[in-house]
Symmetry: C2
Subunit: 373 residues, 2 copies
């Protein structure tokens, strides 16, 4: 196809890249639904029943736009995090907030540092604004704060991305280590700390940092611990001037009114969050056991998924994933070597994990058979 | 405040501009809720009960991300518009789709043509990507297709924006005239035809154009006729290569799952849409009557609002709007002269229009009193 001359040179240079193919698309291609949906880091234990009730109630009010200031939710989040509403930015999911961040901070050729194999949607946004990704390797199966800061210093990065706990590996650092990372952020850089999974991590994983610290922007979401991925609502915590800059580019009326109501109710339901934490913890143990019974080693996880080391290479893990998909078990795997030797299994209800346990032995046989070809 | 050195030069140059202050923010400032919410071009007759039911059902599934391909809705929309799914782009409201369009097409200094006083959110996106707005005046109270195309030819515009029916005036052109406009789009330009209100316009207002025509991108929404403004879901119809370009920049997982379900149900409920069309038509007549009883002239409207000519200048209309707001009637008004001599009143349930009718005489007295100061 001839390139459309109306596209900007940057837009014309971009690939039509989709960071993730959704499970529905895979189901359409295979011609059958999955038995277990364990690949998208969703929370199969679901949102708080109070959040569902609030969303059902709000459905009747959906003729009204949502409040573009997200006032009530920002007030509640500020109280929750013991900061001011001016330190809270609510948006249509972390993906959108990362996109706005790239738009604000990344121009042509600007350096951005992340880990090789970390969140591809972040890279998609950076590349989409003409930024230059500098990826450092994981150390072991951990993102490496020192390496990230050192690379940022070396290349004069505008942005540094880290997720803690990490996706796709599930590993994590202590709050103390993350605080040290913040303190060592090079001048001129903004640290983006993606804490999407933080509610599922051990106490002490979230660093104690002032919300007013201008060196860091922390990203949170209602998609994971709160079980509302389909609602598209997340937030960032940061210094007021950094938060205020988003007024220049954000889609002010972009947050769904039903999501606003659901998030507010979810945030208040500590008991349900505790229930989810317990269920996720039990499911992590179960996945590790299923792995061990089949010769696969679970990495430690502070998330709602468990990454299983298949003990071979990326091709083997890819074959295993393909065999699981064929068997109706939707899972994904890390993209970059050597982490791509793993498959990533979401925590989910017992029936889903049963289906995974049932499918895994034959899938391993298939993968091993392919490895011998 | 010192400018954050991490911002791009473009971002640093942008004002923190909010195209519209929401009614909730105004309610917080005045310390009381509005009696009638008639200012945001919302549809107070609400969405189809079947759409509400579908959204309530989907609330229980919100732990899953929505399908990033929006497959089912695109299929349904393609059938509805007798085109292919490849001609349909679903996104998180027209606002977001206009933003993506600006991102794809508008670079620093690129010329964009619109009408003075037309949709400010479009201008916000264009300016936000460094584009140069060239605004032509309305002709009478109508956007002027010939003038827009001529200006685009003169300045070598990348984009031309027109809304038909028009917001904020409510006026409209025939489909035949819009088709002629498409045929005269200058080479190198893309015509953005915002048809947000099209379901509320007389038959024949939508031009008969091939969905594959590469000169035009048509924007539709579930916010207006379908009454789902808070759900943030809209779509564009265009040539497949133009639609495909959005894969390079869009937030693939950006559409709310509940909104997807609601939109699909709303699209199928022709009877409810007919009900809304009848209610909106009756409310337009009623607003015109209320205006006439108070010496204000209603402009013809093909939308879910009626623009009332106050017969004076922008200052007078501003005072009238302020007096209505003080009286608890949320309305807005056009920004640019001479259209700013008007106030814009949304169609809504009878009780809301009763409240408007009750408040209007005293508000006019107040506005006339201020005019004498």
């Amino acid at each position: 196809m001839k390139t459309d001359a109306r596209l900007t040179p940057l837009a014309a240079s971009l690939p039509a890249s989709v960071p993730f193919v959704g499970p529905e698309a895979q189901e359409r291609r295979r011609g059958a639904p999955f038995t277990a949906r364990l690949g998208a880091n969703e929370n199969g234990f679901g949102p708080s029943p109070k959040a569902i009730a609030a969303m059902r109630k709000a459905a009747g009010d959906v003729w009204m736009y949502g409040d573009p200031e997200n006032h009530d939710l920002r007030q509640a989040l500020a109280a929750h995090h013991e900061c001011q509403p001016e330190n809270i930015l609510v948006g249509e999911g972390i993906d959108a907030l990362l996109g706005y961040t790239a738009r604000l901070m990344v121009g042509a050729g600007d350096a951005v540092v992340t880990s090789a194999g970390a969140y591809p949607t972040f890279n998609y946004h950076v590349t989409g604004y003409g930024g230059q990704i500098h990826a450092v390797p994981y150390t072991g199966d951990y993102e490496d704060p020192e390496r990230l800061n050192a690379k940022a210093r070396e290349v004069g990065a505008k942005l540094i991305y880290i997720s803690n706990p990490d996706n796709p590996m599930g590993t994590w650092h202590s709050g103390a280590m993350m605080k040290e990372m913040v303190q060592n952020v090079p001048d001129g850089a903004l640290l983006l700390m993606d804490e999407a999974y933080i509610e599922l991590a051990p106490p002490g994983t979230a660093p104690v940092i002032a919300a007013t610290d201008p060196r860091v922007l922390r990203f949170r979401t209602f998609s994971k611990g709160y079980g509302m991925a389909g609602a598209r609502i997340g937030y960032a915590i940061g210094a007021a001037p950094v938060i205020a800059a988003f007024e220049r580019v954000r889609n002010h009326f972009g947050v769904n009114r039903i999501a606003q109501a659901g998030a507010l109710a979810a945030l208040k339901d500590d008991a349900w969050l505790a229930h989810v934490q317990a269920e996720v913890g039990a499911a992590r143990t179960r996945i590790a056991e299923i792995g061990a019974q089949n010769g696969l080693t679970a990495l430690p996880s502070a998330t709602n998924f468990v990454t299983l080391d298949c003990g071979s290479d990326g091709a083997f893990a890819g074959n295993l994933m393909a065999a699981l998909l064929d068997a109706g078990i939707f899972v994904r795997k890390p993209f970059a070597a050597p982490q791509d030797r793993c498959v990533r299994i979401g925590t989910g209800p017992a029936a889903d994990l049963d289906a995974f346990a049932t499918a895994l032995p034959a899938a391993l046989v298939t993968a091993k058979g392919r490895a011998l070809l």
